[in-house]
């Protein structure tokens, strides 16, 4: 057994992770990719553990991915659609957390519309908490699955030129990716209209472009983000058609990137708004389907590592 390389009780964000911990998750995820491609996909890594998915915000893809990941590892998985339940009856987040905690879950997967809400919840429960997206703050498993996709497509996860394009301001995916890819020593460009790209991100070492053609020159990876209409409380762009003209990824703009550049999108896509449908479907360039596949593997890896730490802490009387 190798020395402990992932020393975290929770996965609340990319920010607290050290580069070798990121690598540990990705390495284990690579193994789970192999498992997932077999006909018999079962492992007992989480056998006997209870996983509760608490989604305070709509999600189909992420929730399904976490559910499948848990089931393949043998956990007892329960989904709770929180918008429909007690929150509507006026229960506070902390009361909900305490109630669930009393049911002795081992893994809690939480999505919440407010930044920091998952951190708050993690302080009140005694199990491992995974952030499945909190407000505009972080979405760590998305960044990890993106990293795995890049590493497998490019053969490495360092010294790449990576463009993150679109609605950065409202995107937790962008924040987590910026932090992760920065930690792994890549050059990051943020591309989008200035109303959607906070200029403060230049202080984290990212280069900011408001001209997409300029920004895409010679990049290895193009990450497109969804225009988050539901998070916008005013006019950030004049219209979707002008947005697509200036910031939508089409063949002409993609031609400015490196010839072998890959195209990514966390989904769900707005075709014709941020990405041209033919690019999204171009199997030579688009790795969007791989991202979904990697998502399950990365979540299996993260939950496996957290469960090991949880078991060690409980048996050792440590944390």
């Amino acid at each position: 057994m190798q020395p402990p390389s992932f020393d975290q009780p929770h996965l609340l964000g990319i920010e607290p992770l050290r580069p070798h911990e990121i690598t540990a998750i990705l390495d284990l995820a690579d193994d789970y990719v192999v498992l997932n491609r077999q006909t018999e996909k079962h492992s007992d890594a989480l056998s006997g553990l209870t996983q509760i998915n608490m989604f305070f915000e709509n999600s189909t893809r992420t929730q399904a991915s976490f559910e499948l990941a848990g089931k393949r590892l043998g956990a007892d998985v329960m989904n709770m659609a929180m918008q429909a339940s007690s929150i509507k009856k006026g229960e506070t987040l902390i009361d909900t957390a305490m109630t669930l905690n009393a049911m002795h879950p081992d893994l809690l997967v939480v999505r919440h519309p407010h930044s920091g809400a998952v951190d708050l919840l993690a302080q009140k429960v005694n199990c491992a908490v995974l952030n499945a997206g909190d407000g505009r703050h972080e979405h760590p498993t998305q960044a990890l699955l993106d990293a795995l996709t890049i590493r497998r497509a490019k053969g490495r996860l360092h010294r790449l030129n990576i463009a993150i394009c679109g609605d950065i301001a409202h995107s937790r995916v962008a924040r987590s990716n910026l932090i992760l890819l920065g930690k792994m020593e890549n050059r990051i460009r943020l591309i989008g209209p200035p109303t959607l790209v906070p200029q403060q991100f230049s202080e984290f070492g990212a280069e900011i472009y408001d001209d997409m053609r300029e920004g895409l020159k010679d990049v290895d990876v193009v990450m497109m983000l969804r225009l988050q209409k539901e998070r916008m409380d005013g006019g950030f762009i004049p219209s979707e058609r002008e947005y697509f003209y200036r910031y939508g990824l089409d063949a002409e703009k993609l031609a400015l990137a490196k010839p072998d550049a890959i195209v990514m999108h966390p989904g769900p896509m707005n075709r014709g708004v941020e990405i041209d449908g033919t690019i999204a479907d171009d199997i030579k360039r688009s790795v969007i389907q791989e991202q979904v596949e990697m998502g399950v593997a990365v979540r299996m890896a993260a939950m496996d590592l957290l469960a090991r730490n949880l078991r060690a802490a409980r048996s050792g009387g440590g944390r």
Binding site: I94, S115, L120, G135, R136, R175, Q200, F201, F204
Partner: protein, 441 residues
């Protein structure tokens, strides 16, 4: 009333904000007022004889070289009566003030319902007189319901004891309504306190814009919104000639506008909060909601600029902006949590941070915490002058302590200084010569 007593405070380190001095001396207090400030070095007998007093007539208080300063006059304290008495009552706020060396609290009208009619004002005045051991001076709303449409009965409210008019953190968005209210207030000689902020730009913000808010994914507002609000208000002052006090100036960018307005002879003063002087945006750390205040904590550059403005006198007043919140309103995700912090009892030790950091001396601090607010409200207190009310605080600026929020007198315990190391403790507080608080020594 207890019979009038005569007290001689001797061996005191007198903090005189008017003279700007900090020196050992004595203070003779009689019938609630300062009777004399004898030279140090005089014998007790020599001090008392000219006033026809002997040692047996007088209660002697040996201050043991500790600081004796004018009691703090705190503009902008929220007491949650009527409406939310479980958060703070006049009794608990009064005890907190006394324990914090605050001898006059100037209360805010942002209660539920708002204090916007003479009848409500009379209710709170009655409650305050019955329960609070310190002076309580109420402010009233500038517009009915604080909703920025119709001005309140400013004249009647003044007759009922309102010392200033404010909609607190609600900005009067309609400039026509605001200009009329300012014009009418001027005719009554009323002071208007406003919250300089461009309300559309700052709408929905929970943090100040910058690297930290971007990293934490919090909706943020540019510090420029404060300057825009102040610029608008200054333009309206030029139009109307009203008496105006900005409740909290917290950004460097607003300071030049304030300086110009003062140089142009407008009747304008400005305050800031103790939190904006001693904390910055990074203190929010992992979404700690006790650090959520309004306006949000600013950058370190802004903090230092505001401290410097207090030193030069450009910013006149330091307030606690005491805002009690119960646990439920704070135990929420940062964006949803209520803003505000209790501060009556932490104001003085927090201010001592500025003193120990060498940024502000004690006379300057008490100029901003006692003399200037008293002057702005036309009060005789805030001074160590003969004839002034004997509203005094005796404190030790050096004693170290670890703040424990559950030791606070306030009903609400939402202080950002919880568990922090601080220096400075109130030893005794006197209102009109009567001890309203005494630390067990």
């Amino acid at each position: 009333m207890t019979p009038p007593i005569t007290i001689l405070f001797h061996n005191a380190r007198l903090i005189d904000p008017e003279a700007g001095t900090d020196e050992i001396g004595a203070l003779l207090v009689r019938q609630g007022r300062i009777l004399a400030r004898p030279d140090s070095g005089q014998s007790h007998d020599a001090i008392l004889r000219p006033h026809g007093l002997t040692l047996s007539d007088v209660q002697m208080i040996d201050c043991a070289g500790k600081c004796l300063a004018p009691g703090i006059v705190d503009i902008g304290v929220k007491v949650c009566e009527p409406g939310e008495r479980h958060k703070e009552s006049y009794k608990s706020a009064g005890l907190a003030a006394a324990a914090g060396g605050v001898t006059t609290i100037v209360t805010r009208p942002d209660t539920t319902p708002a204090i916007d009619s003479p009848e409500t004002l009379e209710f709170v005045t009655r409650r305050a007189q019955a329960d609070a051991p310190v002076n309580v001076l109420p402010m009233a709303a500038l517009t009915k319901g604080r909703d920025g449409r119709e001005m309140t009965e400013i004249g009647f409210l003044m007759d009922a004891g309102a010392v200033a008019f404010t909609d607190c953190d609600h900005v009067v968005r309609d400039t026509k309504v605001f200009s009329r209210a300012l014009t009418y207030a001027r005719s009554c000689g009323a002071l208007v306190m406003a919250h300089p902020q461009e309300p559309n730009l700052s709408g929905g913000a929970a943090a100040t814009s910058g690297k930290f808010a971007a990293l934490r994914g919090l909706p943020s507002v540019s510090p420029m919104a404060e300057r825009m609000g102040l610029d608008r208000d200054i333009a309206l002052l030029e139009m109307t000639g009203a008496r105006y006090h900005a409740d909290q100036i917290t950004t460097a960018r607003a300071l030049p506008a304030l300086e110009r307005a003062k140089a142009n002879g407008l009747d304008i003063t400005a305050g800031t909060s103790i939190h904006h002087l001693t904390l910055n945006e990074l203190d929010v750390a992992d979404y700690r909601t006790f650090f959520k205040v309004k306006p949000p904590l600013r950058s370190e550059d802004d903090r230092l600029a505001v401290v410097e403005a207090v030193r030069t006198g450009l910013i006149d007043v330091i307030s606690s902006m005491h805002t009690p919140q119960d646990e439920e309103s704070k135990r929420l995700p940062f964006e949803e949590a209520a803003a505000g912090a209790v501060a009556l009892e932490t104001l003085l030790p927090a201010a001592m941070r500025l003193y120990h950091a060498g940024l502000l001396d004690l006379p300057t601090l008490f100029r901003a915490m006692a003399l200037n607010p008293a002057r702005r409200l036309g009060l005789a207190s805030g001074r160590l002058a003969v004839g002034a009310p004997a509203d005094l605080v005796l404190f030790d600026p050096d004693v170290p302590l670890i703040m424990d929020r559950f030791q606070l007198q306030s009903k609400s315990k939402n202080t950002p200084f919880d568990t922090q190391r601080m220096q400075g403790r109130v030893l005794a507080t006197y209102v009109a010569g009567q001890a309203v608080y005494r630390k067990d020594l």
